[in-house]
């Protein structure tokens, strides 16, 4: 049994050998997923399909994921351009999340629509990075 686990440990090390760029793009994956979630949540709020309390809770959960990704970026050894690009999209999503939060408090549908569009753009940008990485 010990040998088996030793084999798995070696396999694990072999599999986990990724470049710093790849590691950072992988770490940004949950953030991209949360941006897409906020986009869908905003759309559903505009359709009156979900309550404001749910939007608030989802924004809170997404912010935690964004914070985690920010921490990873700060410690990453990846290329500066890549770090800056992910940081930029993250900041866009954070600002949009703040706008969506205010929009639901004031029932401001126009601001909410704008926030939804920015989530879509930020999420698409991160997903493009992921696809590029998969092609390489």
């Amino acid at each position: 049994m010990r040998r088996l686990y030793f084999f798995f440990a070696i396999a694990l090390l072999a599999c986990s050998h990724k470049t710093a760029d790849q590691q950072l793009i992988d770490a940004a994956d949950p953030a991209a997923s949360w941006m897409a979630t906020l986009q869908l949540t905003g759309e559903k709020w505009l359709d009156n399909s979900v309550p404001s309390s749910f939007v608030r809770a989802t924004i809170g959960a997404a912010q935690k994921a964004f914070d985690k990704t920010s921490g990873t970026i700060a410690q990453s050894q990846a290329r500066k351009e890549l770090r800056d690009e992910i940081k930029r999209e993250l900041e866009t999503a954070r600002a949009a999340a703040g706008d969506l939060q205010q929009a639901i408090e004031k029932n401001d549908r126009r601001t909410a629509t704008g926030a939804v569009r920015r989530f879509a753009e930020a999420s698409a940008a991160l997903q493009r990075l992921q696809q590029q990485k998969n092609r390489e």
Binding site: M1, C15, W34, T37, L40, S49, P51
Partner: protein
Amino acid sequence: MKKALTLALGILTSVGGFFDVGNIATCTQAGARFRFQLIWAMLLATIVVIFLVEMSGRFAAVTGKALPDAIREHFGFGFWLVPFVILTLIHILVIAAEIGGMSFALHLVTGLPLPLFALPSAILVWLFLWRSTFSAIENSTSFLGLITLCFVAAAVWLRPPIHEVLRGSLPSMPSGSAANYWYIAVSIVGAVIAPFLFYFFSSGAVEVGWDRSYIPVNRAVAVIGMGFGSVISIAAIIVAGAVLAPRGIRVDDFHQAALMLTQAFPHWGFALFAVSMGVACFGAAVEVALSTSYTFAQTFGWNWGEDLDPAEDARFTLVYTVSLFVGSLFVLVGFDPLKLTLLTMFISAAVLPFVAAPMLLLMNDRMLLRDASNGIISNIAAALIVVMTLVLAVVSIPLAVMGGS
């Protein structure tokens, strides 16, 4: 007539009882991450659980004894001790996960913080167990559980590409992270083949007084009921695969899963998800808490029976009371319900050999079961189940490290 009614109720119970927080978590993760590619894991787990549930019901109908009772009596207390301890830990974790699911459903409806609902959820389950008879529990939770059929309605409404769904029914190489793919596949198996299920089923059969004449009913309940239950879970994979996956939404948190029905039911989808989750988790929490009490009472030879007055089986009652309280503490202190559920399902899969093997050994005892002992088909299935559970147990730790993120 009585048997036809038992059959109908049994099927309803299985349909309603199959789907719980473990299924919701693993199926939505599978669909969101790999679209329809992991349907095969659900089909495989369903075939295995049909065999195990059929065996546990047949055993109770023929011997008049529930599994924990029989295993302890047959192999001795020392042999039963290890599976018993493992089973108890799993029971507590599953109760915690189900209370987490109930609390999340209430959080969705009210918008209040999730930990606030930990103790009220546990008290609700406890009150229901304290006041109800076994039949009332069986029937009411199963009828309420039918609301989860909304996942099937949504899957039909979304019209997924049939060829992709059929392709997902056969194992294939993953389109994304292989470790994550196998991690979710193992978690699906752990969610479906919940160890409490067959121990609960055999105790329930004894409680309602099944005898040999119920063997055909038992077989039909196992095949049709579990089959229908599996359809709901597959529908959840399809809905997540059709709604969340194309948008790149992974399910790292139950808030993300809560959006999955809003495409098929724009105005009711959110409420339907919350109610489905609340009801499914409530029913499962009741069953698991009862299963914990059954296992304890049969292990130590106490008086047991949900139909007895609590004063007549005080220790039986005490076990579910303490289990619910301990389970609620996990949620109260802030464990994330999704992570808790996935961890629990994963551990369930890893410990399956310990809880399934004694039962499979017992099913071959011709002195005990005579002509109702396992035949060739059941034994081939049993051997495959043991091999599969052993493989799951071995691969589970490295998979948890590599694919659990």
